[in-house]
């Protein structure tokens, strides 16, 4: 406990950065996470900022290599060995303290206390969240007892209750089963039960519906929606599927090559997309609407991460490319409406260059 307090006070002494959390549960500011390898440095996340309020559902969307998963791994400090946070802050409001997760020791007690308890995560592949040699119940009970001072019996009851909430058909029996005995959909549910067993304030869901069939995906989205209404935690939904984003989230941030290109409410971003990349993404998805709806792909390919374009990262594929501007300067975030920001020179930022 003392370490948590020390973490808190240390940040408090820094002064300005702790101000203006503005009721946010998590505030990520100018996060930079880079990967170092023999071939060079990959700036997987390069200056990303966002806030999430308690009980809010935020979507982070983008294609492979945009940095959405690295952002979530940075928050929980579970980056691969060659990945490092080289700048920025990840401020987490824990009780009445603010902790900067970016500067805490990744293996230290503060993070170990937060991981699984205050911030939990669900993954694409449920088998990766479970040990195959322990029963589902043992693993949920273990998690509960690490973070809460309860007896084995109480933890057992809590685990059964959680399995019931996520819609397991027979919680009293399922609790003694191994994950390999469960079907794909049931494993997903068990993973949600495990992640929610300590009633986290924030749940990070990293592509949890990507590997499952559409009917199971529908079950999973319904479950997340119900359980969010029930327990009131905030959710960060990370996915490449804009359909899932539209269906589940309140606000969305679109990323491209480690940068935020646009954020706003889902209604703003989907009905009034401003950034050429967002518009291109939306135009390239086949729709489930009656009649013939044409799709328009974005030209070109995602650039090699070791040879990032200068200026705006999207300029090599952008239909609205402004020569002499976009390849030379990085566009600032510009507000186009209340709570709707875009980083593109079409909407401002050019005046400052002159």
């Amino acid at each position: 406990m003392t370490e948590i307090q020390r973490g808190g006070t240390a940040i408090d002494e820094l002064g300005p950065s702790t101000e203006g959390m503005d009721g946010s549960l998590l505030s990520v500011r100018d996060l930079q996470t880079h990967f170092f390898s023999r071939e060079g440095v990959v700036k997987a996340v390069d200056g990303v900022s966002f806030d999430i309020k308690p009980g809010e559902i935020l979507g982070i969307a983008g294609e492979s290599g945009c940095g959405k998963s690295v952002t979530s791994q940075s928050i929980l400090r579970i980056l691969p060995k060659n990945g490092k946070i080289v700048g920025g802050e990840i401020l987490f409001q824990n009780e009445d303290q603010i902790i900067d997760l970016a500067t805490e020791d990744a293996d230290g007690r503060v993070l170990r206390n937060i991981r699984g308890k205050d911030i939990a995560m669900i993954f694409q592949e449920p088998m990766s969240a479970f040990s195959p040699v322990h029963t589902v119940g043992d693993q949920i009970i273990e998690t509960i007892r690490i973070h809460q001072e309860v007896s084995k019996e109480e933890a057992h009851d809590q685990a059964i209750e959680m399995l019931r909430r996520v819609g397991m058909p027979n919680p009293a029996r399922n609790i003694d089963e191994y994950t390999f005995n469960l079907s794909g959909g049931m494993r997903q549910r068990a993973m949600v039960a495990l992640s929610l067993s300590c009633r986290p304030k924030l749940l990070i869901a990293d592509e949890p519906t990507t590997a499952v069939d559409v009917t199971i995906q529908a079950q999973m989205l319904e479950l997340l929606r119900d359980i969010q209404a029930d327990l009131g935690m905030a959710i960060i939904m990370i996915t490449h599927d804009l359909g899932v984003i539209a269906e589940l989230t309140d606000r969305v941030m679109i990323m491209y090559l480690g940068k935020e290109v646009e954020h706003g409410t889902v209604e703003d971003v989907f009905h009034r997309p401003q950034h050429p990349y967002t518009r291109g993404l939306l135009a390239s998805i086949p729709k489930m609407d009656p009649g013939r709806v044409e799709i328009e792909p974005i030209e070109g390919v995602v650039p090699n991460p070791y040879a990032m374009p200068s200026g705006c990262k999207f300029h090599t594929r952008c239909p609205d490319f402004i020569e002499g501007v976009c390849e030379r300067h990085e566009p600032p975030l510009t507000a186009v409406a209340r709570g709707h920001e875009v980083s593109c020179f079409l909407y401002g930022g050019r005046e400052a260059l002159e």
């Binding site: 359909g243 269906e247 993404l281 792909p297």
Partner: protein, 362 residues
């Protein structure tokens, strides 16, 4: 039309006719590998693939769509049934009865594209070797120069730079690799291309490029596609006709627009309803969320295999297996569904809300 074609009942436009196709896998157990059961991966599938069209096979994991495509090209030998294939006016041949050598000719005309362009392309071969290999095997070229020329031409066809033919696949992104796989598939100028989840592993912006490329190539070369996929929105964009599979059987087959707007099988209705739509306005619409999971093809429920998950199921569904029957309402369009209540049920398609309002106000 010749006598033989009339005898086999093949429609003039049909290029492949799949008849009562079945593929069973034994379930073995114990040290002696005794057979204790059977997985009916494909069980009595019938459809015709017409020249120049795109027919999609859709369904969830384990529904038998991939096994069906493998049985067509004889990558897996079916347990029963026929796969009739006809080139031009020639007599149809039954691929299931042909020996390996005889199949060569048919396989030159039916090519496959797979889902994962990272594992389907040999990393130690250059583009020239990858794309040129079928040409060499089938002795379609006489010299190295001719081979280079043909491969360069194929690269241009799929909009890749022909000067890259001596490079290896690792130098290319996922979308570009899928173009390479398409170039390889087209190298022998086939009549039919079977695309097994060919765009599923790609990012949406690249997926759109490949979908459009496949359409352009179809028009340009007169190709016929069998498009195996699970994404309903992609299928709606790409296919002329759709066959929905569940537990090894076709449960509904019809023209794409008709099947999506006017589904006649409850499973199709549920699939359409579950597909996420990138439109926040549809966020709060009523969705049909199917309980449970896809039926285990090794232990199928009796009667209609879909009945445990069907919200309209009645006693009859638990006992009798429904046949695929014609439920078409539109002149000249075939629309089949395998549901006892296909004629009675009022199911909701993509335009469901609009249609219902119209019906009510009428």
């Amino acid at each position: 039309m010749t006598e033989t074609t009339r005898e086999t009942g093949m429609n003039e436009r049909t290029i492949i006719s799949v008849r009562n196709l079945a593929k069973y896998f034994p379930i073995e157990s114990g040290f002696l590998r005794r057979q204790v059961g059977v997985v009916k991966a494909v069980d009595g599938v019938n459809f015709d693939l017409n020249e120049g069209e795109t027919l999609a096979l859709v369904g969830e994991s384990g529904c038998g769509k991939t096994t069906t495509s493998h049985c067509i090209i004889q990558a897996q030998r079916p347990t029963a049934g026929q796969v009739l294939f006809r080139i031009g006016d020639a007599e149809p041949m039954d691929l299931t009865r042909m020996e390996k050598e005889e199949l060569k000719e048919a396989r030159r005309n039916i090519r496959m594209i797979y889902q994962d362009p990272y594992s389907s392309l040999n990393p130690r071969m250059t583009l020239l070797q990858i794309i040129g290999e079928p040409l060499v095997i089938h002795r379609m070229v006489e010299s190295q120069d001719e081979l280079q020329e043909r491969v360069a031409e194929l690269l241009r066809l799929v909009r890749l730079d022909p000067s890259t033919l001596n490079r290896y696949p690792h130098a290319f992104s996922g979308g570009q690799r899928q173009r390479i796989a398409i170039a390889r598939a087209l190298s022998l100028s086939p009549k039919v291309v079977i695309a097994d989840e060919a765009v599923s592993a790609l990012d949406v912006s690249v997926q759109a490029q490949i979908l459009n490329l496949m359409k352009e190539l179809q028009t340009q070369l007169g190709l016929t596609y069998l498009f195996v996929a699970h994404n309903l929105a992609v299928v709606k964009y790409e296919a002329d006709r759709v066959a929905v599979m569940y537990a090894g059987k076709i449960v509904e087959i019809g023209e794409t627009e008709e099947l999506y707007t006017n589904p006649r099988h409850p499973y199709t209705e549920a699939l359409i309803s579950a597909a996420p739509n990138p439109d926040p306005d549809t966020k709060y619409r009523e969705r049909i969320v199917l309980a449970g999971e896809v039926a285990d093809p090794g232990n199928l429920p009796g009667g209609c295999a879909f009945h445990p998950r069907c919200r309209y199921a009645e006693d009859r569904c638990r006992q009798e297996t429904p046949e695929l029957i014609d439920v078409g309402e539109k002149e000249g369009q075939s629309h089949l569904a395998a549901c006892h209540f296909a004629e009675k049920l009022e199911l909701t398609g993509i335009a469901g809300a609009i249609q219902r309002e119209e019906r009510e106000s009428a």
